[in-house]
């Protein structure tokens, strides 16, 4: 990880974060890989050109993830203006070459059914190993609010996955 180690505009730091950033961008774009590439392109440009400045008030990863999230929102807004199509949070798609087992598919579907904030928190904390504080910072919400969303998300996921596990048996 490049957390806090590299300076603003360091391409090496971004390279170290790139796989995680990719997963985060794919999550934010509801599994649209083409759109995720556009988002990352714009976010990396903003960071490398210095338009987004890391003020060292958070880890570098938190900063980069925050930029990616803001960029995704901006890309969605532009697209919605151009096409009159708003992201609806449809169930997450998967690459054709990587059809996972039914439990993973069920997990993704359960995540897709979560409210947007809860899904983002789960993604940041569980899939990206961020602390709840860092996740709250990425999302621009208070830690108290993050805790509430996190607890609700976990409860919903447990319910959904237990039901699916029971169904499969």
């Amino acid at each position: 990880m490049a957390d806090g180690q590299d300076t603003q505009g360091d391409a090496g730091a971004l390279e170290a974060l790139h796989p995680d950033a990719w997963r985060w961008a794919v999550h934010l774009t509801y599994g649209d890989r083409e759109l995720a590439q556009d988002v990352l392109h714009d976010a990396y440009l903003a960071i490398l050109d210095g338009k987004a400045k890391w003020r060292r008030q958070s880890t570098y990863k938190t900063f980069v993830f925050g930029v990616i999230r803001m960029t995704a929102k901006s890309v969605f807004r532009k697209r919605a203006l151009m096409t009159f199509r708003f992201p609806t949070g449809k169930p997450h798609d998967m690459p054709a070459q990587a059809r996972p087992d039914p439990l993973l598919r069920g997990t993704l579907q359960a995540m897709a059914r979560l409210p947007k904030r809860q899904a983002e928190l789960v993604q940041l904390v569980f899939a990206q190993d961020l602390t709840l504080e860092d996740a709250a910072q990425v999302m621009g919400i208070s830690i108290g609010s993050a805790r509430t969303h996190y607890a609700r998300a976990k409860a919903s996921l447990r319910d959904a996955l237990n039901v699916e596990a029971t169904d499969e048996r």
Binding site: H18, H27, L45, F84, M94, L103, F126, L161
Partner: protein, 159 residues
């Protein structure tokens, strides 16, 4: 289901969903794709432009009309037989004016040698006028004038 199990499941699901990341170089050299504007977006943009243009046209037209209404009395031209150096033309600036002569504003052609005749000068304010008489356009005195936008001529009597 424990937190650890949930953690592991979500991480694996997230990795399966994202697949392998394209190279950083590919991302950086990517040029942004712009989706084509759909017909509804075009229709909205064109309608907005039309509404704006229409609003602008109405606004300009009403302004011009208002100005024309205001300027109308100034179109007065002194009739030829009365174009004498000792005659002055006055016109009301209001639709209905009171009997006071101070309500009259200068609008006609002043005699060339009258230094006091300036635009907007009230008749009563001119020290050179010690007497007034309203006459109609044929030169006959008007004893009971209707104070409307009608143009009257005031005869000047020099001391």
């Amino acid at each position: 289901m424990s937190d650890k199990h949930l953690h592991s499941l979500i991480r694996k699901a997230s990795e399966a969903q994202a697949g392998s990341a394209p190279s950083l170089r590919r991302i950086q050299s990517r040029s942004q794709r712009h989706p084509p504007m759909r017909w509804r977006a075009w229709a909205t943009a064109v309608s907005a432009c039309l509404v704006l243009a229409l609003g602008l046209m109405i606004s300009i037209t009403s302004t011009v009309e208002r100005e024309e209404t205001i300027l109308e009395p100034d179109l007065f031209v002194l009739p030829d037989p009365l174009e004498r150096s000792d005659w002055l033309a006055y016109v009301s600036s209001q639709d209905v004016i009171g009997p006071s002569r101070s309500d009259w504003l200068l609008a006609g052609m002043p005699p060339q040698d009258s230094p006091f005749l300036t635009d907007g000068l009230g008749a009563d304010q001119s020290p050179e006028f010690d007497a007034f008489m309203l006459v109609d356009q044929s030169g006959a005195p008007v004893s009971d004038p209707e104070f409307t936008n009608t143009v009257y001529v005031i005869e000047r009597t020099l001391p």
